[in-house]
């Protein structure tokens, strides 16, 4: 009997997140949160959204080129997981990196200026949207090739273990990256060598414009069980819920810190915009109904706000003022980016070779570059 199934373009299914489990609020890591901790989570998520909305506007005005992969809709993943990071915990991600960058404490100014290609950008205008970096904040990029950052994440964890530091690496990837060879090689090395790395699949359902169903073979439970083939622990997370995201990630962090063992987490999430802003088809490979459903019922910011109202942590008025402040901060970052200078031409040849930048004897020979 042939299992071959022709693709007939049947009516698209409407994705749904897993059911919310409110018991995660009681997990110790959540029960011990202060009011300030909770407000900071909301503030960080709102800042990401307002920053990206401002960036989108500027993109549409032609202020920047290239790709702009928006994180809007996925905010709880970066904010929830990174809120757990301590001194020796490190972060590396793919090209949809604005959310992680702001979560680790990078400023809107340096991030917006980078989008504009300005010298005041976090990477001096040399990296762009996909290549934000802040090693001083344990943030190692911003990587443009799908899955290409996954061995690097293992390497950051390897270095922590080598230096005998109690820490871990949170290495984020999209659901599209799980079919890259480098990811599988990384899982093997992470488990084989007991590396304190947590691979976090931010599953937004679409590998660019191709749905999970059309791109990935996996067990019925989802993508994360692939970890079993590498003798690695895994878990599935509802990424609209901050409490669940934090509770389950904390288990993985403790495993990394205490046992130096890796984990594969799959966080169910959703992006409201296309793969990038250049993705004009994002309402063709999925339904408008689906996008609206997520915005209305599963928006991580709204879900968290409701939680904070229920817990009487903040008032509606306070939530509005957080939003207003984020809007103003974003507008001011646009202003900052506008007024910042482009990198001077000689910057093309800096940050390539250490010895040239540091003007050592070897760096002064003029033998490094080959121009007309």
């Amino acid at each position: 009997m042939s299992k071959k199934k022709e693709f007939t373009g049947e009516k698209r299914e409407v994705m749904s997140p897993p059911a919310r489990d409110k018991s995660h609020a009681k997990a110790e890591i959540n029960a011990s949160m202060t009011k300030e901790d909770k407000v900071k989570i909301l503030t960080d998520m709102v800042r990401i959204r307002r920053f990206e909305q401002a960036a989108l506007q500027q993109y549409q005005k032609g202020k920047m080129g290239g790709f702009l992969h928006l994180y809007i809709g996925q905010e709880a993943t970066a904010v929830g997981t990174i809120s757990l990071c301590g001194e020796h915990d490190h972060v590396i991600t793919a090209y949809r990196d604005h959310g992680h960058a702001l979560s680790v404490g990078m400023t809107m100014n340096e991030c917006m200026a980078e989008l504009f290609g300005k010298f005041t950008g976090c990477s001096k205008g040399k990296g762009g949207s996909m290549h934000y970096f802040a090693p001083d904040k344990n943030f190692w990029g911003g990587h443009g090739i799908v899955g290409g950052q996954t061995p690097l994440g293992a390497g950051l964890a390897f270095a922590l273990k080598y230096k005998e530091l109690t820490g871990c690496c949170l290495c984020y990837l999209g659901d599209g990256a799980i079919n890259q060879g480098a990811f599988h090689e990384s899982l093997n090395l992470a488990s084989l060598w007991d590396l304190p790395v947590i691979y976090i699949i931010e599953n937004n359902g679409y590998s660019m414009g191709t749905s999970q169903r059309r791109s990935s073979a996996h067990p019925p439970e989802g993508l994360a069980p692939r970890a079993e083939g590498y003798n690695m622990e895994w878990d599935m997370v509802n990424g609209e819920d901050i409490y669940e995201t934090r509770a389950k990630t904390q288990v993985a962090i403790e495993r990394a810190h205490q046992e130096s063992r890796p984990t594969l987490l799959e966080i169910a999430t959703y992006r409201y915009y296309g793969h990038s802003i250049a993705d004009a088809n994002h309402q063709k490979y999925r339904t408008k109904e689906e996008i609206e459903k997520y915005k209305k019922l599963h928006d991580p910011i709204e879900v968290w706000k409701e939680t904070l109202f229920e817990e009487k942590v903040i008032t509606e008025e306070e939530a509005k003022s957080i939003d207003q402040a984020a809007k103003e901060e974003a507008a001011s970052s646009v202003e900052f980016a506008e007024q910042s200078p482009f990198p001077p031409k000689e910057e093309i040849f800096t940050d390539i070779y250490w010895e040239v930048d540091n003007n050592t004897e070897a760096g002064q020979t003029g033998r490094h570059f080959f121009n007309d």
Partner: protein
């Protein structure tokens, strides 16, 4: 001065650097317990243990990417490719990550990493194990590429490569591993980016790198003995940075040049060298620049034919005689 093999010179360089700097470690397929597929790391695992000498699974993209990540955090990995031909399965990690991470982070990240291994043909292992990717590697600003021909150079350059703060793609040769050369016992470093005149001469310059240096030296002896031509042999040693000064000085002295490499000719290293000479020493040339490269076909398996495919003393001699 004691004589040691090219292989032993590298082994000594690793020992010295492992002892000098706790952040230096070796990683690769079969480098530890098996003592290295070509015995370059022989005895080091026994001496330094699991932390410093690490067997990796056959997973080049994985462990080279891991090494890039570890180097970003300040470690100094020295990673072995059993053959440089296997770089192609790790190409994304080597080029998109190692070569560019410093630039794309605006100088916030360093990648002090050595990726080393044999990059040569001539051993009848067919095309997949005989690639010479120094030209392709050197096409990427951000990496250094070198290819020593002697034990003395191999040791001094490897020590510099390990101490370098940028990724160094370090090419070796299985054909040269057993060659004996004088190497001093006391410590020395050879800076990357410096060519070396291996044989002084007045009539013609042969400029070569890697195994082609050894073939060129033999051709030079023959040309002097049989044709009374005084040949200078310049060993590039380093492909990027490239020591243009030594190249140009030699050409200005002899006014004739033959470029020899075991790379394929199209966009080979010598295409860059020829362009440099043509641009900066054209008026000193008394004859066209000549090139001898590997014959422009995938590397053949058959032994007698592969010997012909790689530059031979005969082919070099013939090119020199065309312009002298």
């Amino acid at each position: 001065m004691p004589q040691i093999t090219y292989r032993q010179a590298l082994n000594d360089a690793f020992s010295e650097e492992i002892e000098r700097d706790p952040d230096v470690f070796l990683m690769g397929e079969e480098v530890a317990e098996y003592n290295g597929a070509y015995k370059v790391t022989e005895g080091l695992w026994t001496k330094y243990g699991d932390k410093r000498v690490i067997d990796a699974p056959i997973s080049e993209a994985g462990f080279i990417g891991l090494a890039v990540g570890a180097s970003m955090m300040g470690l100094r990995p020295v990673v072995e490719l059993m053959f440089y031909s296997f770089a192609y399965v790790a190409w994304d990690q080597m080029i998109n990550n190692a070569a560019t991470v410093r630039y794309m982070s605006g100088g916030q990240t360093n990648c002090p990493l050595v990726i080393r291994g044999p990059a040569n043909g001539g051993t009848n292992v067919g095309s997949t194990h005989s690639h010479t990717p120094e030209n392709m590697c050197a096409n990427h600003p951000g990496v250094k590429v070198c290819y020593p021909a002697t034990a003395y150079d191999a040791k001094g350059m490897m020590k510099s490569a390990i101490r370098d703060n940028d990724p160094v793609f370090f090419m070796e040769s299985t054909v040269l591993y057993g060659d004996l050369w004088e190497v001093p016992e006391e410590e020395y470093l050879i800076p990357l980016g410096r060519a070396h005149v291996k044989r002084e001469g007045a009539d013609v310059s042969i400029i070569a790198h890697g195994g082609a240096v050894i073939t060129s030296l033999k051709a030079a002896e023959y040309l002097t003995a049989e044709h009374d031509i005084d040949v200078e042999v310049v060993d590039l040693r380093s492909i990027r940075p490239l020591d243009e000064e030594t190249i140009l000085n030699s050409v200005k002295k002899t006014n004739r040049v033959v470029l020899v490499e075991e790379n394929k000719p199209f966009c080979g290293v010598d295409a860059q060298v020829a362009a440099t000479i043509s641009d900066k020493a054209f008026d000193y040339l008394d004859a066209p620049i000549k090139r001898v490269s590997s014959l422009d076909a995938p590397q053949i398996y058959s032994m007698p034919l592969e010997k012909e495919q790689i530059p031979t003393v005969e082919r070099i001699t013939q090119k020199v005689l065309e312009i002298c």
